[in-house]
């Protein structure tokens, strides 16, 4: 358990004007920060068994589901908030949060015509086209507004292939047997504090089922939006890839600017059977708080993939620029022989943002392999930590892991930390770990300046180059969006 710690402070003397510019934190606007004026159906603040029952009742859930939630809630009450992450934030008052908020005009999920026009406008503003005829890119979208899934597009096309893409609430009605079989099977409610909380109060999320041998004909995308003040968002995503199937799934998130911190505690479960593959990409841009560190989302998320079948594969690709505090470790349980887990991550922190993120690769099957590429960029007064576990079990003969953790510092007031954990119980394992820390060099900036490129563009270029291995893993359109997002997130740090 080593800690490699780097702090820009030591090199303070070498900072000249360009670097000074890097330190000047201006007030870049979070352009997704608007609030939608919409009537909501909201539960009273606070959390108790009654609220849990209320949520379950509102969603018309079967009895077993209500019971499961209650068990989770009771378990949660016995647990303590985790203290080990390298982040600091004031104690959360869980009784001061609204656990259920839904747009009042409950839309008919079959037809977009019935969706509240205000909602459609919101998603349009966010650049998420919901009207199917407008979608040229062939991406099916599920939009989750506060607690409820408001619209899922391209349902019919997907149905022909037997692909189920719906909200979890709908899935509970239409395919209860599938939900019952897999929900909580990868992330049980006993897993951790936030997973237990999520299980008790989760309001919605996306459900995907890819039948045997089907290659999903389009990319599936869920767009999450927190709107209501004081609302926590607890969505739950469940994706099942049957034997020999494939799906690429994208998720994006934004929230309005609020002075207060909002909690987002999601759970994502992926089940991958023999010869199947899931590619899961995230561009996370929750409101990060302002330049003084006020407001912003607490993003405490449990994401886990179970590669149950032989030759199954999962890739997590994430670009994280948002949230005030992030606590997130998308993991892979490599149970099937020859199963493959990949984790590609760019985490950007600026101003007072804090991120403690990484992955877990649990090798259980034989000949399993995993790759971890993590790029952390710290600017302003932020703190960026990589925390990763590579575990090789007794029976996991010939397991392979390659880990590369690169950190980039912009300015002299930010921090980058790496916490790699390696636990090996099998002699045949081969595990490699590489880590680098660099500063955006004055020399690099001057070199680009000298070729006619402005300092801001130069920094973007350098940062994009640094993240290239991860961007290469993103679907084309998402990669473009991610690059733009990075530029906006770091705008402030270039003076």
């Amino acid at each position: 358990m080593e800690e490699i710690k780097t702090n820009g402070l030591q090199e303070k003397d070498e900072i000249s004007e360009d670097m000074q510019l890097l330190n000047d934190v201006t007030k870049n606007e979070y352009k997704w920060g608007f609030i939608t004026d919409i009537e909501s159906d909201t539960a009273p603040k606070g959390l108790n068994e009654e609220i849990v029952r209320f949520i379950s009742l509102k969603k018309g859930e079967p009895e077993w589901m209500t019971e499961w939630r209650l068990k989770a809630f009771r378990h949660w009450q016995t647990m303590e908030e985790p203290k080990w992450p390298n982040v600091k934030y004031p104690k959360i008052d869980f009784q001061d949060i609204i656990y259920y908020s839904a747009p009042k005009k409950k839309p008919q999920l079959d037809s977009l015509d019935e969706v509240d026009p205000e909602l459609l406008k919101t998603f349009e503003k966010l650049g998420i086209p919901l009207e199917e005829q407008k979608i040229l890119s062939g991406v099916a979208v599920d939009a989750v507004f506060d607690s409820v899934s408001v619209a899922t597009t391209f349902k019919e096309t997907l149905k022909e292939k037997g692909v189920i893409f719906s909200s979890v609430s709908e899935a509970l009605k239409d395919h209860p047997e599938l939900v019952k079989k897999y929900l909580g099977s990868v992330v049980p409610y006993t897993d951790n504090y936030y997973a237990a909380l999520n299980a008790a109060v989760f309001s919605d999320g996306s459900f995907v089922y890819i039948p045997k041998g089907v290659r999903c004909p389009m990319e599936l995308s869920t767009y999450f939006r927190i709107n209501n003040e004081e609302t926590g968002q607890f969505e739950r995503t469940l994706i099942i890839a049957e034997e020999g199937s494939y799906v690429s799934y994208l998720e994006g998130c934004t929230a309005p600017i609020r002075d207060t911190n909002q909690l987002h505690a999601a759970v994502v479960e992926l089940v991958i059977l023999e010869n199947a593959e899931i590619k899961y990409s995230t561009v996370q841009n929750w409101y990060p708080g302002n330049s003084e560190g006020k407001g912003g989302i607490y993003n405490f998320v449990t994401k886990r993939a179970a590669c149950r079948g032989n030759h199954s594969k999962v890739s997590w690709t994430q670009v994280e620029t948002g949230s005030a505090v992030t606590w997130k470790y998308p993991s892979c349980i490599l149970q099937g022989d020859y199963s493959v887990g990949e984790f590609y991550s760019v985490a950007v922190t600026n101003n007072y943002q804090q991120a403690d993120t990484g992955t877990k690769m649990i090798h259980l099957g034989k000949n399993t392999s995993s790759t971890i590429i993590s790029k952390g960029i710290s600017a302003g007064k932020s703190n960026n930590s990589y925390r990763g576990l590579v575990k090789v079990g007794k029976k996991a003969d010939n397991a392979r892991n390659f880990t590369q953790c690169d950190s980039m510092l912009m300015g002299d007031k930010c921090g980058a930390h790496t916490f790699p954990y390696i636990e090996i119980e099998n002699d045949t394992a081969k595990v490699e770990h590489e880590a680098t820390t660099s500063k955006v060099g004055e020399d690099q900036i001057f070199y680009l300046n000298q070729r006619g490129i402005s300092t801001e563009d130069a920094v973007n270029m350098i940062v994009n180059g640094f993240c290239k291995e991860v961007f290469n893993e993103l679907p084309m359109e998402f990669a473009v969006e991610a690059q733009k997002l990075l530029a906006i997130s770091l705008e402030s740090s270039v003076g």
Partner: protein, 254 residues
Amino acid sequence: MLVIKNLKANVEGKEILKGINLEIKAGEVHAIMGPNGSGKSTLANVLAGHGGYEVTDGEIYFEGKELVELAPEDRAREGIFLAFQYPIEIPGISNATFLKTALNEVRKYNGKPEATPKEFMELLREKSGVLGMDPQFISRSVNVGFSGGEKKRNEILQMLMLQPKLALLDETDSGLDIDALKIVSSGVNVFKNNDNAVLLVTHYQRLLDYIVPDYVHVLSKGRIIKSGGKELALELEEKGYDWIKNDELIEENV
């Protein structure tokens, strides 16, 4: 094209340039020679606008425009090009992206339309041909994993692509074997015409066998202590820098 008047500059508070006077006209090639630490590279970097160098006195005019307050990217866009002594690596950014961005920035600034991908590729093919560069290099990251010679050639390629008015070559010959030196020199000779100018900064005379200067200036302790024609370089080669330094001492003592 370039007029430098009584230029003084500091690095980390220490005065390196102690009053440089120099004029370069279009069509000319000037060579600045001098021993290590005389301020040759400082002069090149000050002209390019490196933030680590502070101009404390004097004036620099480029095409009639005062340079000192101009940002380095604007100097580049105005037509000043510095071929770096130690070219910088930019991991993850391909030479193609880098060159194209630079070319279009310069074009935009000068009111010209951006290069189409076809124009760009044709220009690139032509210019890299001059330098005998493997076209594969274009997809590699800027200077990453390049040998010393490849890096220098890449600098010259950038110069040929951007077509600056004034090219400052900072010890472009250092670390080159004779074949690479010939290729790099031929690149400079292809570049040279009556409308542009070249300022070579070099320690050794051998570069001047391939790029013939119109003027040679000897820099010592932050001042130009002697100027002459190309024969001055040969004289220096023969007698060494001590000859000039002694000369200077005598002059100062008289």
